[in-house]
Symmetry: C2
Subunit: 253 residues, 2 copies
DNA sequence: GAAATAGTGTCTATAAGACAGTATAAA
DNA sequence: TTTATACTGTCTTATAGACACTATTTC
């Protein structure tokens, strides 16, 4: 029985017999702008998918691992040098024809941070802007962008990852600048989940979870419409929520 | 300001200017043998890491995506053609020097199934056998194998994924052949978690979760030592556990 | 004062932890 | 009968859902 080289361990046979592959990272960078969960997209200037919008990304350099490349792209695309937020690997997309020209395997990542600035135009001429996630994904608004490659799939996977991650971790607090108020944190959950957790029970859950938030001891500004000024908090050292924050059923879908 | 090509979108510039990479899949295949969570390892015959044990794996062929390659490797390594179990992508490992000879990016996968047979020697001469996970990872037993490459890290990540996955999904039932008994399912949780959920509360949780298991209406065989014969069940259509099965704190670690 | 926002207290329902008990088999 | 395994019932405790209430601000 002959043994095709493809069944061998990496390195057991000469891998140079294999067609090689280009490896990229793509990033789904989320932030909350005006209470709306938003994702950073760049407009493609050239074929394929010229005029389509795409997740920012780029090649993994020879001396980098995927995480390093993702951090580099994150800084380049957002224009923020000291990124205070969260970045993690999502999953890898490897369909042979996901790029029509070359075999490109994309190691997708997921990032989110407090209200990031409007992206700078960058060194190249590409347009870049924040899009409301709902407009990009389930949206059929007039200005809904078509997404290049398999980026609609990647974005949908990233969204579900964020939604589930804030259930059982304290990462929701990475979406707000310190110090923050509980109503602000509550709006994070509302924006990400697309549904509103009961405010009183939400407060109880957050405050009873040890080290989720720590009080600053000061009060924030009241809104222009009046109302009691909210207490201020900072992120605590806790990383997981045990038990999890329960996600209410969505009104739509 | 010059713009290195590495900052460009994939496809915006010619990717053939980039050094290419070889892409493999590695598999952490788990099963439960004699009540012990076990993982399939193959012994490397050649350098590098000759004599070390490694996760089974191989190159992703040009016409395959990673999932297809993983299914193919799974069939080849276990010798099972109709695999009744679970396979999913774990994460991608891309440290530049994880293989000393070539740049190899590994898309690691995770599989588990009911008590799989001892692996056939395979078409090549490599040894392959099941190892108790505890002996491979935290074990300092005399026969503890050294793992090649970064496979100890991959295996540790895979183990944590399995442990958490059976908390909030019904996938634990993929570790047993149908029909199965609740004590058998209980032993799955005990073996994977390394800690024993309270049996009476475990039964209540499983039976109160709609469509987790469906009774066959028959009883299984009693053990040689006697005792009441257990009821038989099959896997139900449910996929998630809401709320999750809580993992007790481990005695060790 | 009204309106708006922030925050508290409490009743109820659900589910987990603990544990004592019963049921059915082999020897 | 003893022993071993399978299974049931129930009390207590922790937490989520619902909702009414108080507190502090602007106008």
């Amino acid at each position: 029985m002959s043994t095709p080289a493809s069944e061998q361990q990496p390195g057991t046979y000469d891998p140079s017999a294999y067609p090689s592959v280009f490896v990229t990272v793509d990033l789904a960078i989320f932030t909350i702008r005006n209470g709306v969960l938003s994702v950073l997209l760049v407009e493609r200037a050239e074929e394929p998918y010229a005029g389509f919008w795409a997740l920012p990304g780029g090649f993994v350099n020879p001396d980098e691992d995927a995480g390093t490349a993702a951090w580099r792209e994150l800084a380049e695309e957002t224009g923020v040098e000291r990124f205070s937020g969260h970045l993690e690997q999502l999953r890898t997309y490897s369909e042979p024809d996901r790029d029509p020209r070359h075999r490109i395997v994309s190691i997708a990542h997921l990032a989110f941070a407090p209200d990031l600035p409007e992206p700078t135009a960058g060194s190249d001429a590409r347009a870049a802007r924040w899009w409301a996630v709902t407009d990009v994904l389930d949206g059929t608004p007039d200005d809904a962008p078509g997404l290049a490659f398999d980026h609609a799939l990647i974005l949908a996977d990233a969204l579900e990852r964020v939604r589930s991650k804030i259930e059982y971790t304290t990462l929701a607090a990475q979406f707000v600048d310190e110090p923050f108020t509980l109503p602000e944190l509550h709006r994070v959950y509302s924006a990400v989940w697309g549904t509103e957790p009961h405010l009183a029970n939400f407060r109880r859950k957050v405050l009873k979870t040890k080290d989720f938030v720590v009080p600053v001891g000061d009060t924030g500004e009241t809104t222009p419409e009046g109302g009691r000024p909210p207490q201020l908090y900072r992120r605590g050292p806790a990383e997981v929520l045990q038990p999890a924050m329960l996600r209410p059923a969505r009104d739509d879908d």
